[in-house]
Structure formats: C-alpha cells, structure tokens
C-alpha cells in the first residue's frame, strides 16, 4: 500500500523503498544536541520506527541557536524527553526508548538489537567509550561531529569481520584529538551536518555507503574531502583483532 506520508520521498531514484526499509531498523543515537535532535527527526520523518535515544543533558538557553528541536518552552527539561515527544508528534507509531547516560554498565543494554549506532556526542572520551562498546557488540557505528564551521563523518562497520584490521577503530583516529573543546559553532553548520548525517544513514541502509572512509566538510566554502581510514598499529583494537 502506498502511504501518502512517503509519497514525495519514494519518488526519488534509489530511495523508492526507503520508508519500508527503515521501518524494521533499530537505530541508537547518543547525543541529542545540534546533531542528534534534527537527525532523529529527519530519520523518523523518513520512516524509521524504532529508536533508542541517550542524553543526560537538559535544554539550556545557550543551546537554542542551533538545537532546533528545542525552544523556550523546553528550557530546563530533559532533551531526551522533549525529543521523544517531538518524534511522537511527527509519527505516533514510532517506538522510542530512552537512556539517561551512556556508561560502562548500560552500554551492552543500549547496543542490544541495534542495527546502527550514531555517535553524535561532544566529548572525545565519551566517543571512545561508545566506539569500544560498539566494537565489542559488533554494531556498525557512525561517528559524526561538528565544530565552528566544519564537520566530519565516518562509518566504522564493526559488524564486518576484517574491518578493524583494514581500517582501525575510532580510537585510531582520536589518538590525536586529545581533550578537544569546541567553543564555537554556527546554527546552520550544526543543522547542515545533522541533515548530512541523516542522509548518510539513509544511504547506509540503502546499501550506498562504503565503510572505512572519513569525510571532512568545510561548510564555509562547501569543500568536502573523503579519505580512507587506516589503523594505528599501536591501538588496542589491533591487538584484539590479531
């Protein structure tokens, strides 16, 4: 049965069956800020029905210039709670499970039965933990981030047997990130990147994305470059996989 909801989407070549395809997928999103909020909304709009959302944070005034799922009426409220309601308003049939915080003890439960994890958090240390747990659970992971006027996105397909040997893990890349802070960020850059992550997820489920590459985007000049990820042979992931 053709559903009016997806009429215009299914008219796009390569995405005819997207809503149907997304309907049985389970996606976990960690970090519900400028990237995670809008990305979740676009994915549910496209037909995703099962999500696990994780964020401990509450909406604050300094979020509002870029975190478009929240407004003045959400100040002080849990981002996860507000976003869940926004998603249910968009599609009442969506199932959303909330997790307060991604931690060592609940990581396995969060990762359970997921087809894909989106790491859209804002701290390298948290990203490393998410990557470690995705790797041990063998769940494909998309690492996307944004700062200032730039973004980056990579697919770590930990489900694939030889992936880590050929391309490494997030830690291999993050070794050089240190304790990065991101003081500046433009609203349109965050939302552009959130949209790009949502599109990337759709393409991934449509089988159009090749894992093991990272794309760097500079939104000010629309410059975007993709390169192949390679392992750091001194990383823990290489000892485990050998």
């Amino acid at each position: 049965m053709l559903n009016d909801r997806y009429l215009r989407q299914s008219a796009v070549t390569g995405f005819e069956n997207l809503a149907q395809n997304l309907s049985d997928k389970r996606v976990g999103i960690v970090g519900l800020g400028g990237l995670g909020g809008l990305c979740a909304y676009l994915l549910v709009g496209a037909g995703l029905k099962n999500l696990k959302l994780c964020d401990f944070d509450e909406v604050s005034l300094s979020n509002l210039h870029r975190q478009v799922m929240y407004d003045q009426t959400s100040l002080g409220l849990s981002k996860a709670q507000v976003l869940k309601q926004r998603l249910l308003n968009l599609d009442e049939s969506v199932k959303v499970e909330l997790f307060p915080k991604f931690e060592e003890h609940n990581a396995a439960l969060f990762n359970e039965n997921l087809d894909l994890i989106l790491d859209l958090t804002d701290k390298v240390q948290v990203r490393e933990l998410i990557s470690d747990k995705a790797l041990s659970s063998k769940v494909p992971l998309i690492e996307a981030s944004v700062s200032n006027t730039r973004g980056q996105i990579a697919l770590f397909n930990y489900k694939e047997q030889n992936f880590v040997k050929e391309h490494g893990c997030f830690r291999c890349l993050a070794k050089n990130m240190g304790h990065m802070t991101s003081p500046g960020i433009l609203g349109p850059v965050a939302s552009a990147m959130a949209s790009l992550v949502a599109l990337y997820v759709m393409q991934y489920f449509q089988g159009q994305i090749e894992a093991g590459k990272i794309r760097f985007i500079d939104f000010l000049n629309f410059k975007s470059t993709e390169v192949v990820l390679r392992p750091d042979l001194t990383c823990t992931c290489q000892k485990e996989s050998s």
Binding site: V146, G168, N176, M177, I214, V228
Partner: protein
Amino acid sequence: MKVIVNGEEVETQKTSLKELLAELEIKAQGSAVACNGEIVPSSTWDTFKLEEQQTFDVFTLVAGG
C-alpha cells in the same frame, strides 16, 4: 623534494612527515593527515618517509555534537 600539501606544491629538505608538518607550522594535535587519499596514523608521522610528489591533505579534527 617537492610534495603537495592541501593542493599546493611545497619544496622541502625534510625527510619525515612529522618534520614537514613542523616546518609548515601545522599543529600536530587536533590534525589528521592523509597521504594519497589514506589516513596516516599520527603515531607513525615521525617514521613516515617523504617521497617526491606525494600528496598530503591536512584536516582539522572536530569533536562537537
């Protein structure tokens, strides 16, 4: 020798990637480098030997969400 860094030809006497980055005053911390389209892990920058006409892309890593 001549190498290409972010699209521009660079003449250098240096032999390793780490030395090249220092010469170009590129901050190691927070940067990612690709050679001929493949990421060079930062732990190998000091032993990574430069060769004529290699193409390097240097990227600023970001971590915000």
